[in-house]
């Protein structure tokens, strides 16, 4: 399919009409989404109105913007004014937000055409979309496998070729892991790079919105559009958007890249490990110096995360009580109404995390769990900062395995959580990371390699991503390894 960059160029030049581009996207969705269920909702009428406005602007000699006529899918935890926003939860049944998320407004201002809301694990809690109240999304490359999660619908919408771009949110790997499992590019920007205003909060100190794309250039284009300071988000970093695309061809000659020792152990499948080593060789062949480095505290990331994220979630999700929006289960008193609404409105994973967080924050356990986890977070930040004094970028697997089958990990929450062991530390540290497709595993399914960078250095991170994209091996078994 045509890249977002090429589509925008053609639409701005008047060579293609946005309405024709949209028709192709809607036809692709119509042809396959009953099977894949990437979308919770396709907003065809609103999309048509937006595409017509783009075409009118071009006809009038105006520039609709850098994403002119590009169809984009939105994770269904991004607020869209007047359009249902469900977080794939029953508890938001019928809710239509009274405002647009900042990223949604920025996309519209850049000429993009939002085509619908994509499926996710309920409130972005999960790694497979199996926690959606509306049923899972299927992996477009093998519909018997999960697409990853929580942004599985956004990853699948791009991997299936419906749209060239989508937005997800990443709290512990929820963009990068599904990108890896679906064979697309997925970016978690530096915390604070992209406004969270209008992103339904899961864990506020970890959540970050970012792009999915089929190419590194398209991911850069989308990130440039959504980045930048927003006075409406008090955690938004007062920096302008980074100029990523002009450096994509700069290469990695002279850069120092560290392979993270803690992420290449027994917990990582051998075929995935082989691809990561092959990616390291590709960077070395392009002139980078590659060494092994250690980020010791990162090995404790999962433990710290499963205290901090549920603690923040238990607080954020207290607002769902049947009073102001969404579901209300009627009862004769307000306290009973709260309880019935929350009990019927939330699924099991959300309940688990609310209870875990409530426990970790409760009197007597606060210091032991939450206090400890926050101190471990400090160690993780320090260890990353120490590593970045020796190297410019870090390299690791994105996910320990390729896409797994439905039901494989639903009975054991810890087994599901292990999916995010390599991605969680960047959320705790706030640093940016990108997953780039790099060949396939023994099962023929995509492998993603992760490039990690210091805070606000997305430019260098994207340079390495571009080199890896160009060097990525074609389909073929990985276990021979190291053939570079």
């Amino acid at each position: 399919m045509t890249s977002a960059a090429d589509t925008a160029r053609a639409v701005r030049a008047g060579e293609r009409r946005a309405t024709d581009v949209l028709d192709e996207a809607l036809a692709a969705i119509e042809a396959r989404d009953a099977e894949l269920h990437a979308f919770n909702l396709v907003t065809a009428d609103a999309a048509r109105a937006a595409a017509e406005a783009v075409d009118r602007a071009v006809a009038a000699g105006n520039d609709p913007g850098p994403l002119a006529g590009v169809p984009v899918a939105l994770k269904d935890n991004l607020c869209t004014r007047g359009i249902p926003t469900t977080c794939s939860s029953r508890i938001l049944d019928g809710w239509r937000p009274p405002y647009d998320a900042t990223v949604v407004a920025r996309l519209a201002a850049a000429g993009a055409v939002a085509v619908g809301k994509t499926n996710l694990d309920e409130f972005a809690m999960g790694s497979s979309t199996e926690n959606s109240a509306f049923g899972p999304t299927r992996n477009p490359l093998d519909p018997t496998k999960v697409p990853g999660g929580s942004s599985g619908g956004s990853a699948a919408a791009v991997a299936a070729g419906y749209v060239p771009l989508s937005l997800g949110s990443d709290t512990g790997g929820s963009i990068r892991q599904p990108a890896a499992l679906c064979g697309v590019v997925g970016v978690k920007p530096t915390y604070g790079r992209v406004s969270r205003l209008g992103l339904v909060a899961f864990a506020s100190s970890l959540d970050q919105i970012g792009p999915f794309a089929r190419t590194v250039e398209d991911a850069a284009l989308l990130l440039e559009v959504i980045s930048g300071h927003d006075p409406g988000d008090s955690t938004s970093i007062p920096e302008s958007a980074p100029a990523l695309r002009q450096h994509l061809a700069d290469g990695v000659a002279g850069l120092r890249v560290g392979l993270v020792r803690e992420f290449l152990g027994d917990g990582i499948a051998p075929d995935v490990r082989a691809r990561v080593h092959q990616a390291a060789e590709a960077l070395a062949a392009a002139g980078a110096s590659v060494t092994e480095v250690s980020v010791p505290a990162a090995a404790y990331g999962l433990s710290a995360y499963y205290v901090i994220a549920p603690a923040e979630a238990s607080s954020n999700l207290a607002r769902y009580d049947g009073v102001r929006f969404g579901l209300r289960v009627d009862a004769s008193t307000t306290p009973e109404m709260y309880e019935l609404t929350r009990t019927q409105g939330f699924g099991d994973e959300v309940k688990r995390r609310i209870m875990l967080g409530t426990y970790a924050l409760s009197a007597g356990y606060y210091d032991a769990y939450y206090g400890t986890a926050q101190r471990v977070r400090t160690l993780i930040l320090r260890d990353f900062e120490a590593a970045y004094r020796e190297v410019d970028l870090l390299l690791s697997p994105t996910s320990p395995t390729t896409a797994f089958a439905f039901g494989d990990k639903t009975a054991d929450p810890m087994a599901m959580y292990m999916n995010d062991v390599c991605t969680i530390p960047s959320n705790l540290s706030g640093h940016p990371a990108v997953s780039v497709p790099f060949g396939v595993g023994d099962d023929g399914m995509p492998v993603g390699v992760q490039v990690l960078a210091p805070a606000l250095d997305e430019v260098t991170m994207f340079r390495a991503a571009a080199v890896l994209e160009a060097a990525a091996p074609a389909a073929g078994p990985a276990s021979g390894g190291g053939a570079g």
Binding site: E339, T343, Y359, P413, S429, G430
Partner: protein, 103 residues
């Protein structure tokens, strides 16, 4: 660093569910107790770390107090906000009685 507590009990989970306004039946209580205890048991590996003198991090990118300009800006439309409520009346959210019988 404070010691990690003993393994989570069924009573702990029942109490936490009450605090979080969730109702669990007996089967759920058993299942959640086992699952939550496993997750918390995994977290005890942090006890191996020397955290003496380590300050907690609440937020990855420290920013000072963030204040906007003191200028009048439009807020959300009240009617649009109330339209999203399960029950609204006279420009307000309506809830069942909070204490005791209905008036």
């Amino acid at each position: 660093m404070p010691a990690m507590p003993e393994r989570l009990t069924r009573d702990d989970v029942a109490q936490v569910a009450r605090l979080a306004r969730l109702r669990l039946d007996d089967t759920e209580l058993d299942r959640f107790t086992a699952q939550l205890a496993d997750i918390l048991a995994h977290a005890t590996d942090m006890a191996a770390l020397d955290l003496a003198g380590v300050a907690p991090t609440a937020h990855p990118y420290p920013l000072g107090n963030v204040l906007r300009d003191d200028a009048v800006v439009a807020g959300l439309e009240r009617d649009e906000v109330l339209a999203a409520a399960p029950v609204a009346e006279s420009g307000q959210f309506r809830v069942p009685p909070v204490i005791g019988e209905a008036p």
